[in-house]
Symmetry: C2
DNA sequence: CGGCATCCACATGGATACTG
DNA sequence: CAGTATCCATGTGGATGCCG
């Protein structure tokens, strides 16, 4: 319910409304899809947990990306008051709804870049 | 057959192989998904035809994007020798295989940004 | 643990003009 | 028709260091 922090603006290139460009604006960044994928897989995660799971990302870029994903209502940040305190990043329902998109991206990547020995795989 | 101009390098963020980042590198640019979508919809298209269908893109950016997509084996450029000459951009088989990804992006965009009156649509 | 501050390099995109 | 040539503004990502 308290999902989308603000209303989503309709991002689009030209004047006409374009669902693809909209989606691309949301997840068409280098790290966004991977981050969402990890959150789908592992569920709510801490910052450093995420940093470990997203191989190769720096603290700053992870931080920037999470900020962006929060602005867009994909990711939610929760502070757990314990000693020491913890932070949980999780997907909003909008974020969870991206699962089919992320999975199709994963599937495509697997089918077309795996199996280096397969002449038809795209990577030989 | 003569589809993939060169072998695909395995783009990935860290050291481990990651299908999502790979896919994101291919189509995770502002205009790439739309261009591929238009080629899926309209079939082989000329430059200005594409420029018209991709609302808001400039010549330079379309040109750059098409170059990039060709490098990655997604798009193919064919010169038709007529008077005057024409150029056809079309999808390679690898490009065509992206259809599920593009369609899931389109579907997500439609479901989550359309229907401003629907409280559950993401845009209220 | 969970970041932010800085600084910097390069990529991406846009406007305008011009060409074969 | 199908681009290319500039120039410029902004975006995106990376390295390093510091902080509560």
């Amino acid at each position: 319910m308290s999902d989308t922090p603000e209303r989503l603006e309709v991002w689009c290139a030209g004047e006409e409304w374009c669902p693809i460009t909209t989606t691309a604006t949301l997840i068409g960044k280098k790290w966004h899809p991977v981050i969402v994928h990890r959150l789908l897989e592992s569920g709510p995660s801490g910052f450093n947990e995420l940093k470990t799971n997203v191989d190769g990302i720096s603290s700053k870029v992870l931080s920037d990306s999470l900020d962006d994903l929060q602005e867009k209502g994909i990711v939610e940040r929760t502070v757990v008051n314990e000693q020491p305190f913890r932070v949980r990043y999780s997907l909003t329902s909008r974020g969870t709804s991206l699962e089919p998109v992320i999975l199709s991206m994963a599937e495509w990547g697997e089918q077309h870049l795996k199996a280096p020995e397969d002449p038809d795989s795209g990577v030989r």
